[in-house]
Assembly symmetry: C2
Homo-oligomer: 148 residues x 2
């Protein structure tokens, strides 16, 4: 049966973080914003949508709401392990945006502990060589069964 859409972790990932504003909200948490109004201001999303997105990110285990004040209850959003692991995705996306979308110099610059400006590169974890498309071959790809 090779019916139906491809079953792929990219699609699965998009179900969880693919909606508009989800990634930008996460970016803000990476950048150090932890409170609702900060995230609203820095992303430009509307408050209701952001409420929904943050709620979903909490439900799917990417963010955690941590109480930092009772009376009135005030929460901050912090990354879970799954959230922290998104770092590499964000970094590569930013590098791509810098190179092919943003005009002019990169608006956001990070420094790595080695002292240089951070430029991410994706390597094969085994041989440590940069991953190039022509060096990749598809071994297996499943499909999702159609509901029949």
């Amino acid at each position: 049966m090779t019916e139906g859409p491809r079953d792929c972790s990219i699609a699965n990932a998009m179900e969880v973080i693919g909606e508009r504003w989800s990634l930008l909200a996460l970016r803000e948490v990476f950048f150090g914003a932890r409170r609702f109004d900060q995230i609203v201001r820095n992303t430009g999303a509307s408050r209701d949508i952001l409420t929904a997105r943050l709620r979903k990110l909490v439900e799917t285990g990417i963010l955690e709401k941590r109480l930092y004040e009772e009376h009135p209850p005030r929460y901050e959003y912090v990354l879970t392990e799954a959230g922290h692991a998104l770092n590499h995705v964000l970094l590569n996306l930013m590098a791509w945006g810098d190179a092919y979308v943003t005009e002019g110099p990169p608006p956001t610059v990070w420094r790595h502990s080695c002292g240089e400006v951070l430029a991410p590169e994706t390597v094969c974890a085994h041989c440590r060589e940069p991953v190039r498309e022509k060096d990749m071959t598809l071994v297996r790809s499943s499909r999702r069964a159609t509901s029949s």
Copy 2:
């Protein structure tokens, strides 16, 4: 002036590839699909949306339409340089999905030319060390002026 949403290449990138189905369409091209109906089938997107997304990806220089048959005119979609560069983003996103979203074994597996199953890792291009969050410091981050 520190007003308005943060100016960031992640946001800029999302304007171009952030809509639903855009990334999945691109995934299909990476996976070897080149024709409209293949992409429709493999993603599960509706045809009209996919028409719009592919058109946008062509306009923004990520895909190219290449005529492979006249009478009737038939086009295939191929990646431009900017499109090829998205490889690393897709790869990292897939790895994250494999680890934190997809239940069970990875649905899609690639082999690297070194002989091993491909596991992407993000390193600093200068020192070649894996990038960890605690080794990064924000140097500069601009903001977009509000329209005032």
